[in-house]
């Protein structure tokens, strides 16, 4: 209690210092008056009495000082004065102050911005309750357990029934063809529909804000709908009475059973307009045990780890493997949902975090260097003040306060830098890094960076201060400008700091070099396509106005009309753009040829539905046979085109054209073999099967993406496209127009993002290392200016001296580079998954980094070397 009172009184005294002083004056004056009156009564004259009373009291000032001590505020008082002094001292040396504050600002700002990005994307959980319990379930071929396949309805139902580890589990149908038409007549519009099973709302733990979700007995395609907040406001004007009302979709009357909260967004499908019950009817057909099309998310029971759930799943896999012996890709695995959403950004951001940490260390080292130089510069000043009677604690305290002042200024500028850096990061990566748009400046991360930078400023500011305070002032003053033993050891310390800087910068340089080359290799990958000069956009047809026959005709019509636009050489539609990942992976088997009825004759292949002149439009060559044409319509026998890889796998050693295959439950004749297309931008080649839209339009509304090959540039094409489409159907929208190269590159945008940031960091690191080297050498030259002057006066060759300084700089660089090289080798394992077509230990990159580092070091060392010898010896010696 009394401790608290004490603290409170001290703090009060700081705040009311003036009043306390005034009151003390008055109190002491009163005391003196009373004393004088008493003395007067005892017979002294008034002035004598006054004098006597003062003597009796002891010096007034002394009393006041003692009283201040008693108030316990003297330290605070002095610290306030030291702050003022620190600001003045720093202002006297604006060069030093600017460099130090900017270095700190870069460190604090840059680090915080990137930490915040990593935090928002990686460390912050999904915006759901207990996100750690959320998992995504994939199926995979037991031979390729890393593969991630969608889940079959048959397996889903079994998982749901038999897994005790799940609190709730749900299947979603996330394919983009699941659109719905709403509105009437000319006003028909296509909206995004997400079919889900009843457990969906329990998995995400977001119940509808109005009404209810779905029941298990409604998982049969019942006409029920849960609205998004947006559609609820648009169609029902936010009326709570919307529940139970009707929403006409695809011409069928759906009953509104619920409305989701505005802030809810599906973790996998993204923005959704309505949720409908998924039809689990196909689960009753064992044939569908090979039909992978569901996305499955689960919430684990509280306290159940993903490892434990996986163990249970593994046991179930064995049982199900026996039950559906024919099923391929039937091994199931669980991934944390967060990992699934963030995906491989994980590693990119992890690497960035490492790069940022290195830059932060570099900043601290630079600050250390700056303060050490300053410390040795001020050794004399401190010695003088100490000789004049300044207390050592006082000198140390003053240095401390100066460091804190610097750190505070750096922190303030750092926050500004952080703001700018964050906008830059968002602008750079918003498209490629999921959830980056949620980026905000995290206060605790800012605090972390500020604390680290402040600690380094204080630590390295205090070291020389303590040394200076300990040193005998006489020694320091006598030594004057000659280098003393203490500055010699400081010099060595500083050289080691520069070595560490060079090493860190080197590692970042190697990282940036590897990524630059990877990106180049990636661009050179042969995707089996001609990606340049291809415009793409999505075209969704409302079912209400377009039945399957109309769709089959219309997509061909669109392609024909679009290809008539001047500057367009081919136009087509496709269910999914090439080289953009897995889509409609269906079981495919040879129905004739050497592998008929064998295990090898069955496999999973990418299925694409095409309209128009697809292969010409994206530049896939015909290898054998023919392509689809007007002969292949709904009335003709089913025909398919396969990729060369598919032909080789299904019909080894024989001519594929004329053989028969079965895919998607349809048996067809192979009429042509086309060139291979990569699965994604990395260039992995997988088998493809192509279906003619004219023959397959009845299966579903394929929502074909249009592709247009321009003979020249695609610029200006969009206006013609809109005009052409408006002439065909004014209600249609050109949705998501983009260059094919950009669409494919999108999956690599993450790598570009990482690359840009890492290159920036490498640049900053290099600049900091160069600055450090420059600082150390300049300082060394200044210390030895006298020595150089004498040498030159005695006839030493200027070039020799210059070489000496240069050699010193390059030695430090060489040691740092060797250490950096070892570091890069040690870290190469981390980079392996980020590099492409190149070893993480690529000798060319290593050599290049060495050369670049040396070049920068040579420049940083040349300036001081030049300065060492450019002055006239006489002017130095005087």
């Amino acid at each position: 209690m009394s401790g608290l009172t004490d603290l409170f009184e001290r703090l009060r005294s700081i705040v009311f210092r003036r009043r306390d002083e005034r009151e003390l004056d008055e109190e002491l004056a009163f005391h003196a008056t009373m004393e004088a009156e008493q003395l007067e009564r005892a017979g002294y004259t008034a002035s004598d009495a006054r004098r006597q009373s003062l003597i009796a009291l002891g010096g007034i000032e002394r009393v006041k000082e003692d009283a201040r001590d008693a108030r316990g505020t003297r330290t605070f008082h002095d610290i306030g004065r030291d702050f003022g002094f620190a600001v003045r001292t720093l202002a006297h040396n604006p060069g030093f102050a600017t460099v130090a504050i900017l270095t700190l600002a870069v460190g604090i700002g840059g680090t915080t911005a990137v930490f915040s990005a990593v935090d928002a994307v990686l460390l912050q959980p999904l915006p759901f309750q207990e996100p750690g319990q959320l998992a995504r379930l994939y199926q995979a071929d037991s031979a390729y357990p890393a593969d991630r396949q969608f889940v079959t309805p048959v397996h889903f139902v079994d998982y749901r029934r038999e897994l005790g580890a799940f609190d709730a589990v749900a299947a979603l149908y996330t394919y983009s063809e699941t659109g719905g038409d709403i509105g009437e007549g000319d006003d028909v519009r296509r909206i995004r529909v997400l079919p889900v099973t009843s457990g969906y709302f329990d998995v995400v733990r977001v119940p509808p804000k109005l009404g209810r979700g779905f029941q298990p007995d409604e998982e049969n395609g019942e006409l029920l709908v849960v609205l998004s907040d947006r559609l609820w406001r648009e169609r029902f004007h936010g009326d709570r009475e919307a529940i139970g009302q009707r929403l006409t979709m695809n011409g069928r009357p759906y009953t509104v059973v619920g409305v989701m909260p505005a802030e809810f967004e599906d973790p996998i499908a993204g923005p959704t307009d309505v949720w409908v019950p998924l039809d689990l009817g196909p689960a009753r057909d064992p044939d569908n045990a090979e039909n992978h099309y569901l996305s499955v998310i689960a919430r684990l029971r509280p306290g159940v780890s993903i490892t434990r759930a996986q163990a249970e799943l593994d046991r179930l896999n064995a049982t199900l493997g026996a039950r559906y012996a024919d099923a391929s890709d039937a091994v199931a695995r669980l991934d944390p949902l967060k990992e699934d959403v963030v995906g491989s950004a994980d590693r990119a951001l992890g690497i960035m975090l490492g790069a940022v940490a290195m830059v932060l260390v570099l900043v601290c080292v630079n600050i250390a260097n700056l303060l050490l130089v300053r410390g040795s510069d001020r050794a004399r000043e401190f010695a003088l003040r100490s000789a004049l009677g300044a207390e050592r604690t006082r000198l140390v305290r003053q240095t401390l306060i100066e460091s804190v002042t610097l750190a505070l200024a750096g922190a303030i500028v750092g926050v500004i830098v952080a703001r700018f850096a964050m906008s830059a990061i968002v602008a750079l990566g918003a498209d490629s890094i999921p959830r980056l748009s949620e980026l905000t400046l995290a206060p605790r991360l800012l605090a972390f960076s500020v604390v680290i930078a402040t600690l380094s400023a204080i630590g390295f500011g205090l070291a020389p201060a303590f040394r200076a305070a300990k040193a005998d002032p006489g020694d320091v003053l006598r030594v004057e400008t000659r280098s003393s033993t203490s500055t010699g050891s400081q010099m060595r310390l500083r050289e080691w700091l520069v070595v560490s800087q060079v090493a860190l910068a080197f590692v970042l340089l190697v990282g940036a070099g590897l990524l630059i080359l990877s990106l180049k290799n990636l661009r050179d990958v042969n995707l089996g396509l001609k990606t340049s000069g291809v415009l793409t956009f999505e075209l969704h047809l409302p079912d209400a106005r377009y039945d399957s026959t109309a769709r089959a005709r219309f997509y061909e019509e669109v392609a024909a009309r679009l290809s008539e636009i001047r500057g367009v050489s081919a136009a087509a539609g496709v269910s999914r753009l090439p080289a953009t990942g897995n889509y409609h992976v269906w079981g495919t088997r040879a129905m004739s040829g050497p592998l008929v009825n064998t295990e090898r004759g069955a496999m999973q292949a990418q299925q694409r539905v095409v309209a128009g002149d697809y292969f010409a439009a994206v530049g896939i060559p015909l290898v054998e046979g023919r392509l689809f044409d007007t002969r292949d319509d709904a009335t003709a026998p089913l025909r398919m085109v396969v990729s060369r890889r598919a032909a080789d796998l299904l019909f080894p050693g024989v001519r594929a054209v004329g053989e028969r295959i079965r895919a998607g439950g349809r048996t067809a004749e192979v009429i042509g073999v086309v060139g291979d297309v990569a699965l994604d931008a990395r260039g992995d080649v997988v088998p493809y099967v192509y279906h003619a839209h004219r023959q397959f339009a009845g299966n579903r509304n394929w929502a074909l993406t249009q592709v247009l090959r321009a003979s020249g540039s695609t610029a200006g094409l969009q206006a013609d496209v809109r005009r052409t489409l408006a002439a065909l159907d004014p209600q249609l929208v050109v949705y998501k127009p983009a260059e094919l190269g950009d669409v494919i590159g999108r999956s690599e945008a993450q790598r570009v993002f990482t690359l840009q940031l890492l290159t920036t960091f490498a640049g900053v690191a290099l600049a900091l290392a160069a600055l450090g080297l420059f600082g150390v050498l300049s300082y060394g030259v200044r210390l030895r200016g006298r020595e150089f002057g004498i040498r030159m006066a005695l006839g030493a060759d200027r070039r020799k001296i210059r070489r000496m300084v240069l050699r010193e700089g390059l030695t430090v660089t060489a040691i740092g580079t060797v250490i950096g090289l070892l570091g890069a080798i040690a870290l190469s394992r981390l980079l392996t998954s980020m590099v492409f077509g190149i070893s993480a230990l690529d000798p060319l990159v290593m050599l290049g980094a060495v050369a670049f580092m040396t070049l920068v070091a040579a420049i940083a060392a040349y300036l001081p070397a030049h300065r060492a010898t450019s002055a006239e010896p006489r002017s130095i010696l005087q």
Binding site: F30, H31, R62, A67
Partner: protein
């Protein structure tokens, strides 16, 4: 405990201030005078030790202060014991009693004769 007027140990001064203020609230000069009187002019309390002591004691929460007008019309800062201060006085009195008893036992015989002379 010299017979001459002199400086006091800090703790002793504080104890005497507490004792003085236990009688009535008083200003600094009054406290000094009262101690001088009560000690029969043995202790002359200097301003230099009194005021720091008062501030310290206030910091510990033993005293509160208020500005009042003295009987002859001057403004002065009056010090008053808080309950904590009163308790502290009890503590100090007990420990002082124990200590002076102990010193008396040690110095027993001579003290008796000294006492006799006075």
């Amino acid at each position: 405990m010299a017979g001459e007027p002199g400086e006091l140990l800090q703790g002793t001064l504080e104890m005497m201030v507490l004792k003085t203020l236990s009688l009535e609230p008083m200003h600094g000069w009054g406290i000094a005078q009262r101690i001088q009187q009560m000690s029969k002019d043995v202790f002359l309390v200097s301003q230099g030790s009194l005021y720091p002591a008062l501030i310290r004691m206030k910091r510990r929460g033993w005293l509160t202060t208020s500005w009042r007008v003295t009987e002859n019309g001057r403004r002065a800062r009056y010090y008053e014991l808080t309950p904590a201060g009163r308790k502290q006085l009890g503590v100090e009195q007990t420990s002082w009693q124990r200590m002076s008893d102990a010193v008396n036992w040690v110095m027993g015989a001579r003290l008796a004769t000294d006492g006799g002379r006075r």
